[in-house]
Amino acid sequence: MWVQEIAHQTEHAAPEAAGEGFNAGKTIIEHISNPKDHPILHLPTIMGIDFSVTKHVFMLWFVATIVFVVVTWSVRRYLRQERLVPSGFMNGLEAVVEFIRDQIAAPNVGRKWVNTWTPLILTFFLFILCANAIGLIPIFDVLGLLDHWVLHTGDHSVVKRIIHGGTTATANFNVTAALATITFGAIIVAGSMAHGFFKHWKNLVPHGMAWPIYILLIPIEIMGMFVRPFALTMRLAANMTGGHIAILAILSFVFLFTEMFHRALAGIGVGLIVSVPLAVGISALEILVVLIQAYVFTLLSAVFIGMAIHVHH
C-alpha cells in the first residue's frame, strides 16, 4: 500500500510539468498501482475501510478461485481412481507437493512436525506461484487494446474500469503483508505447540547469561520478531513490482523517442532495436523470478517456523 499509494497520490498532486506530453513515470505508476479511484465494483466505506473491489482484489479472488478449483478438482478425480496412479496434471502437482514436503518443509521443521506445517507451506507456494505467474500475463493490457481498437465501450463501462492498473496481486504490499502476517502467526503457533505458550516466549532469548546482556538482547529479539515478516512482505512485493517497472520503463523508450524527435519512425526504430529485445529478456528473467520468489517465501516461512520449533541457544 504505502509506496504505491504515496506514489500514486504524489503523481496526481504534482503539477503537470510536462504538459500534455507523454509522462513515463505517471504511466508506469498508474500501471502498477492499485487504482482506488477506478474500482471495478464500488462498495461503501465501513468503519474507515474502503470495501470497493479494485483490480488487485479482483485478481486475488481470481487466483484463489483458480488454485482452489484446479487443485481440488484434480485431487478429487485422482482419489476416485481404481488404482492410485497419478496421471497428467496430477503428476505435476504431486511432484510439487513432494518437493515442498521433502525439500522445504522436512529439513526445516523436522520429521515430527512435517504433516502439521506442510499444508500451510504448500498453500503459500501454490498461491504465490499462481498469483505471480498470472500477473505476468498482460490480460488487462490486451483487453485495453481490444477496447481501444475493436470494442469501443463507453467511458463508464466495466471494461474501462477494469483496464486501470496492474494485474499482479502479489505486487501489492497489502497482499504480501497479509501473507507475512499468517507466517508471523504461524511462528508463534509453532513455538507454542512445540514448547508450550510461555516457554515459546522464553525461548526467544538464550538462557543463562549475565543480566545486563538481556537489556540489550530482549529489545533486539522483539524487533527481530517483527522484522522477519516485514522483510518477507517487502521482498515479494518489491520483486514483483520491480520487474513490471523495468519492462514498462524500457517499453516507454518508444514513446519518449517519438516525442523527442517528433517522428514515429524514431520511436519504432528504438523499439525494434532496443526496447523489444530487452523487454523480452527481462520477461524471461521475470519467469525465473516468479518461481524463485514463490520458493523464497515458502522456504523462509519454513525456516522461521523451524527456528521457533528447534531452538538452538
Binding site: W2, V3, T10, F230, L232, R235, A238, L299
Partner: protein, 76 residues
C-alpha cells in the same frame, strides 16, 4: 534541497545498495562455485546451504531500496 535529494542522494544510495548486494552475492556465488568444483558430489548440499543466506542478503538489499524510494516519495 529536494532536487539534491531526488537527483543525487537517492540514486547514490541506490548505487551503494547495488554495490553492496552485488559484492555479497558475488562472494557467495564464487565460494559456492569453488566448493562445487572441489567436491562435485556435494553440489546439492552446497546449493542448499548457499540459498538461505543469499535470500536473506537479497531481502536486506530490497529493504534498503524500498526505504530509499520511500524517502524519495515522502520527500517530495
Amino acid at each position: 534541497m529536494t532536487g539534491l535529494v531526488q537527483f543525487f542522494a537517492i540514486p547514490f544510495g541506490l548505487g551503494m545498495i547495488v554495490i553492496g548486494a552485488g559484492l555479497g552475492i558475488g562472494r557467495l556465488a564464487a565460494a559456492a562455485a569453488d566448493g562445487i568444483a572441489r567436491q562435485p558430489n556435494a553440489a546439492d548440499r552446497i546449493t542448499g546451504a548457499v540459498n538461505l543466506p543469499l535470500f536473506l542478503l537479497e531481502g536486506v538489499a530490497i529493504l534498503a531500496e524500498v526505504f530509499a524510494l520511500l524517502v524519495l516519495f515522502l520527500g517530495r
